[in-house]
Symmetry: C2
Subunit: 380 residues, 2 copies
């Protein structure tokens, strides 16, 4: 771990503090699939200016740092928050996609994908090596491609965008300083290296609330997650704002696995609905539709989980994922185990050069809690 302090440029005193904090964690499972790495750690919490999820590696001939992706603050109201936050600057509304955040970097000879928490993910790395050309990194070796990894073949967040699995770029950042390129530079560079980007839906001023709301409502109709609102120069930090559709979709998920999920997760999404309803001044009829949508998003998954357990099944989360190489699947199992995730990977079939597996995670707490009640137990 001695290289970490050096890589981050810490004084001896600060380095000691880092060691005491025990926030430095292992970032990968050692394997020939990661040939350029001698060692690697991640920050489990923010440390000084270094974001949670910062990745620090020792390569054969140097150290490498990929700063953690900055937390994007959320607004519950467009007015007056955007105006207050962005002032008179030009802003863009970029689609916020519902997948998982990865930073794609090149270390040594190969491409690597680092998840939000700072872990090298074998699943994502394998896909990134297939889908992202190294050309960009020849010209910009110091930079990272901050992408949303989306699709139905996702080990983490399954959402149907009409693709099996893909990456959509939203930021290009200096890996060491975390400085982001302007929106214009990002778009131009992405185009010239054929990197897909998250859609930019609108460029406007922060006080153009009607048009911004209209854009969000179009996304709502498309059943999409929401927007990240960015200063075109990327000098001011972005904000995020989500649709009612995704609020309810999150709630469905959280209540399906209610004992696994934090109460705060539920409450925050409910509060978002209230502020949105308030801001858009909806009719009584639309308000009732929202109430019904919310009520269903809460009760339907709960009743579904109760029925599952009643019929003798565990409450499980399932997805179908694929690998190009069976050895990466084995490595991915070790990767999940390292994180203490209790999941089962079962071989399904081969097709078009891909090996398909079912990833299944049993929601033990939810299953047990429901089961006890069905057998005549008490709530508390």
């Amino acid at each position: 771990m001695n290289f970490v302090a050096e890589a981050l440029g810490l004084s001896r005193q600060t380095a000691e503090k880092l060691e005491e904090g025990s926030i430095l964690r292992k970032a990968f499972v050692r394997d020939s699939f990661f040939p350029d790495l001698v060692d690697a750690y991640r920050l489990d919490k923010k440390f000084g200016k270094f974001e949670e999820g910062t990745f620090i590696a020792k390569l054969k001939d140097r150290t490498f740092v990929a700063r953690g992706f900055p937390k994007i603050r959320r607004t519950l109201l467009l007015d007056p928050t955007l105006k207050k936050h962005f002032g008179n600057r030009r802003i863009v509304l970029e689609e916020k996609m519902n997948g998982y955040n990865v930073r794609i970097v090149k270390m040594g000879e190969n491409i690597y994908a680092i998840t939000r928490g700072g872990l090298l993910c074998p699943y994502t790395t394998e896909k990134a090596r297939k889908m992202i050309s190294t050309d960009f990194f020849e010209d910009f070796p110091e930079y990272m491609l901050c992408c949303e990894a989306v699709g139905i073949a996702s080990p983490y967040v399954v959402f149907d965008y009409g693709v099996e699995f893909d990456f959509f770029l939203f930021d290009i950042r200096n890996a060491k300083t975390n400085e982001a390129l302007s929106v214009k530079d990002k778009v131009e560079i992405a185009e010239s290296y054929s990197i897909k980007t998250a859609r930019i839906l609108l460029e406007t001023n922060a006080d153009n609330v009607d048009l911004i709301l209209k854009t969000v409502q179009e996304l709502e109709a498309e059943r999409r997650e929401g927007v990240v609102i960015k200063d075109v120069e990327m000098k001011i930090e972005p904000l995020k704002y989500t649709t009612s559709y995704i609020n309810c979709s999150d709630l469905r998920y959280a209540f399906r696995y209610f004992a696994e999920y934090g109460r705060d997760f539920m409450l925050s999404r409910i509060i978002r609905e209230a502020f949105q309803s308030y801001e858009i001044k909806e009719t009584q009829k639309d308000f009732e539709k929202r109430c019904l949508r919310l009520g269903k998003a809460i009760l339907e998954p709960l009743v579904e989980s109760i029925k599952d357990v009643k019929s003798g099944k565990d409450v499980v989360e399932k997805s179908k994922i694929f690998f190009y190489d069976g050895r990466v699947a084995e490595l991915f199992k070790r990767h999940l185990k390292m994180q203490g995730i209790n999941a089962k990977l079962t071989y399904l079939y081969k097709k078009d050069g891909k090996i398909y597996y079912e990833l299944q995670r049993v929601m033990r707490s939810t299953t047990d809690k429901i089961s006890r009640i069905l057998e005549g137990g008490y709530w508390q």
Copy 2:
């Protein structure tokens, strides 16, 4: 505090443990309104066999203990839980009223009312002295009347039962041992001393689930809270089961003051709705009605609180209460202050020998949280 160990019959070792645990709290504000008391404490947590809320007093010539009212466990399903819990015993369904639990006792020359946590409440004591005759205590000095204090003039739980304020007896218990009289004895005694009782809705066997459900659904239609299901002999502990009406009513309250209320409070009521919906096998149409009811119970109060703050008001909880004696009102203020409750008592008017006050509690956290967001702040 030396009398506590003696009153509870603790060994020296156990008494030391009690002192270390710092669960012994002051139970009253010293005042001439409580003339029979030299000193009094309450248990802030369960200690050995002694329930949370156990009240221990030193009177002029003896000690007095009123055991805490036992926690009643909740069932989310009637079938199979009642059968499993009560077996072949006869049970009654007694109406569970929505007020606050008080134990009425006689100490020295006077009647006193102790709230759930073990506090001597001046407000409730004043009413008990007016409404409950001392006759019962002449014949049963060792017993306590466990009552629900209900009405619209309630400082704690406002609910309209068509009365301004009243007591409804549900248990008669030995104050020292906590042993409860049988349902039949309780009813007979209450009748002979003209004490009002919570309604007994049904006597049956635990496996008569259809009839039990029907009774609950009648309560639902009456917009009442629910039932306590009791072994007629009171040898087995009771269970409680509540209506969808009160689940939603609780949620309305919790979301109106969302930052003041625990997330667990919200989640537990939502889960109750899911199990009830599952158990009664409701039609799709009734299920949708339930979802809409739930959604409204959540969003309406939230939007109401947002609108209050937007219009410059604090989010407040208000009730109108009355005293027969202005000095008790002053004492009640000190009583609230002792508990750290931030409430304001404002004189309104006199009528029919009663002095009316408005009790107002500002919900600071909820008000501040909404206010920050309305001013352009972020959620987190």
